[in-house]
Symmetry: C2
Subunit: 356 residues, 2 copies
C-alpha cells in the first residue's frame, strides 16, 4: 500500500529559549546537528521509506515560509497550515483528509518534527513492521520506546506480552506521566513502554476512529476536505479550526479505541525536551563540556555552551547551561532547566513580548 | 602653600574584563556610579580642595583623547602622557617636574584614578591634615586605611603609635601583601594600616628624594623638565622614558626614605580591585543581587549582573558574576574572580588580541 508521512511541526516549544522563539520554534533549529534543523533531519530520515511528494507537513500558518525555506524540494501544496493550534487530533485529522483526498486510502505514518533518532536503519525497520500491522486490519499502531530509566517526564504504554500481531503487542492502556515511585514499578514490571507520540495506521482507520470518537471534529474535517484546492479553502479552514475543541489524539482517540498495538523501538530516541538534551546528544570534551561557538573555558566542567556571535568566557563553572542569542542571554544551572519557562512567564507578565 | 593634585590614570586593569579593555581601562568606566567614570569621580572629589587648573593627569599616550573627553574642563596641557609605562616612580616624577616648572614649590597630592571613596568630606579633611604635615618639613606622607578585615590583597604600613606629627604617625616600615595568618596578626596588633597608594608631599621633597634614591631617573626627569613646552619635548620624553628603569614609588623611594608619615583614613575606601567590588559597592536587591541592565532573575541570589544591550536571564544561580559587553560575555563563579586573568592569558596565547 502507498506509504505517506505526516510530520507535525506546529509546536512553539519554550524550553529552548532564548534560541527558540515564537517566530523560530525548536523544530526549525539545528539543535542536535551542526547544519540540519530538526525538521530537516526528520524528513531526511524518512526518505528511504517515503517519496518526498508523499511527505506532508502540518504547521502553523506563521511557519509556512520557514518550512518552505528549510524543505525546498517539498511540493508547496504538502505544507498544510493550521490557522490556530487545536492540539494533535485536529492536526492529524487535517493531514488524514488531505492524504485521503489525494490517494483514497494509504498507510499514514505520523511523526513529531522535534525528536532525535540516532539509529535510522533500526527506526525504518520498525516503521516497516508497523505498516504491516496497520495494513492487516483497522489497527492503530504506536511506537513505544523501551525505557532505560524511570522517566517521570513521559507518558507510558502498558502492553500485553502474550497478545502479539506481527511484531506488535496489543496495548492494554495508556497512562499519564507517573511519579518516580510508579515509574520505577513500571520499569521493573517490563510491561510498560514510553509513549513516543509516533503513530502508524491506514488513513481510513484513523478517519473511522475520528468519526466514532470525535464526531464533531470529524464533520468539520469533512467540510474542510470538500473545499481543498478551491477558493473557499482558507475561509472554511479558518472557521472550522476556530470551532474545533482542542483535543490530543491520545485522549481523544487512542485511549478510547480498539485494536491498539505498539511496537517497541530501540533506535536511540530522545525527545530533545530541554537544553540538557544537547548535553546528552552532542560531543563533549574531556571535561564534559559541550561547546558551540567561540569560548574560553577556565576551570569549567559539565557545562553546555551555545554561543552566537560573542566570545563566551566561563570561569569556575560546573553543571551550567549558557546560551547566547541575538538579543538575550540565558545562564541557568542544569538542575533548574525546568524553570526556563518561568523566565518566559515573567516576560509575558512584563509585556516584553519581543523576547518571547 | 599652593595645593596641586596628580592623578595617575595610566593603568590597564584586566580584572574588569570584558568591560575593561586595552583601549578602555577601568578608570575610564562608570563601575561604581551610574553616570560618572572613576576618573571623573576622582576629580569631582578633589575639586573642593584644588582648582581644576591645578589638577594634573598622568596617563598613557593612548588615553589622551579619553581623558580629554571625560574631563573637558581640564586644561589640555595638564594631561601628561607617558610614551610607555615605567611604574609609579617615573610617573610621579614626571608630574612633580611639571608642577615644579609651573609653581616652583607646591603641595602635591598623588591619587590613583580607580579607587572608590564614599565619604568625601572625611577624605578631604584627612588630606588637609596631611598637607599640614607635608608643609612642616621634608616629610613624605601616605594615607593608610584602617583595616576592617585581614586582607591578603594589600600591602601594609607599620606605624609607630607613640611618634606623631600633627595627626600623622611616623611610619616604621612598609610590608608586602601578607598571607592570611600574618594578616590576622597585623589586624590584631593595631599597628598596621593598608597601603592605599595615596601620597602627600611638597614637590621639592619628592624631587629631593628622587635625586637621592633614584638618581638616574631624576637626571632623566630633569632633562624632560628643561624641554617642557618646546619642540623637542616629545622626542626627549620618548627617549628618557624608554631608558627609565621600571620602579614603583614604594620600593624606589618610600621604603628607603626618612621622614615617612601616615594618616589613618576611614573614608569608605575600596580599591575596586575586581568585579566583587561592584557587588560590595552597588545597591543590591532583597536577594543580594546587583543588577545593571535588563535582566530576568529566577531563583537567583548574591549574583552580580552587568548587562549591555541584551536581556540577561539568570535561572537558579548563586554567587555568580555575569558581564555582557559588545563582543564578549563573562560568566564566572565569584570565588574564581581571580581567574579572569587566565581568560586573558588564553586569549593572548591564541592571538585573539581583539578581545584584550
Amino acid at each position: 500500500m502507498k506509504k505517506t508521512v505526516l510530520i507535525m511541526a506546529g509546536g512553539r516549544g519554550e524550553r529552548f529559549w532564548p534560541k527558540s522563539r515564537k517566530t523560530m520554534p525548536k523544530q526549525f533549529l539545528a539543535l542536535t546537528d551542526d547544519r540540519r534543523t530538526m525538521l530537516q533531519l526528520t524528513v531526511d530520515r524518512i526518505l528511504p521509506l517515503v517519496e518526498m511528494g508523499d511527505v506532508f507537513i502540518v504547521t502553523n500558518r506563521d511557519y509556512r515560509e520557514l518550512v518552505r525555506q528549510q524543505l525546498p524540494k517539498l511540493p508547496p501544496e504538502n505544507i498544510l497550515c493550521e490557522p490556530i493550534g487545536r492540539n494533535t487530533a485536529p492536526c492529524i485529522g487535517l493531514g488524514a483528509m488531505h492524504i485521503a483526498k489525494k490517494y483514497g486510502d494509504a498507510d499514514m505514518i505520523v511523526l513529531p518534527s522535534d525528536h532525535l533518532i540516532k539509529y535510522t536503519s533500526i527506526f525504518l525497520d520498525t516503521l516497516e513492521s508497523a505498516c504491516i500491522v496497520a495494513e492487516e486490519g483497522p489497527n492503530l499502531v504506536t511506537l513505544g520506546i523501551t525505557p532505560d530509566s524511570p522517566e517521570t517526564g513521559y507518558g507510558y504504554i502498558k502492553f500485553q506480552p502474550d497478545r502479539m500481531l506481527g511484531r506488535a503487542f496489543a496495548v492494554e492502556r495508556f497512562v499519564e506521566k507517573p511519579n518516580l515511585e510508579t515509574a520505577k514499578e513500571y520499569l521493573a514490571s517490563e510491561q510498560y513502554l514510553w509513549n513516543s507520540g509516533m503513530f502508524i495506521w491506514r488513513v481510513s482507520t484513523i478517519l473511522d476512529n475520528l468519526e466514532q470518537h470525535l464526531p464533531k471534529t470529524y464533520q468539520g474535517l469533512c467540510r474542510i476536505r470538500e473545499v481543498i484546492g478551491s477558493r473557499e479553502a482558507e475561509e472554511v479552514l479558518e472557521r472550522e479550526f476556530n470551532a474545533f475543541k482542542s483535543e490530543s489524539i491520545d485522549y481523544g482517540v487512542m485511549e478510547k479505541a480498539e485494536n491498539i498495538y505498539t511496537l517497541s523501538g530501540s533506535f536511540g530516541w530522545d525527545d530533545v525536551g530541554s537544553w540538557l538534551a544537547v548535553g546528552r546528544i552532542k560531543r563533549s570534551n574531556e571535561f564534559g563540556n559541550v561547546v558551540d561557538g567561540r569560548a574560553v573555558l577556565v576551570g569549567t566542567k559539565n557545562t553546555i555552551i551555545q554561543g552566537a556571535e560573542k566570545l563566551i568566557a566561563a570561569v569556575g563553572l560546573e553543571n551550567m547551561i549558557i546560551v547566547d542569542s541575538e538579543d538575550a542571554i540565558l545562564i541557568c544551572r542544569q538542575e533548574h532547566a525546568g524553570d526556563i519557562k518561568k523566565v518566559l512567564e515573567r516576560l509575558r507578565i512584563c509585556n516584553q513580548t519581543e523576547y518571547l
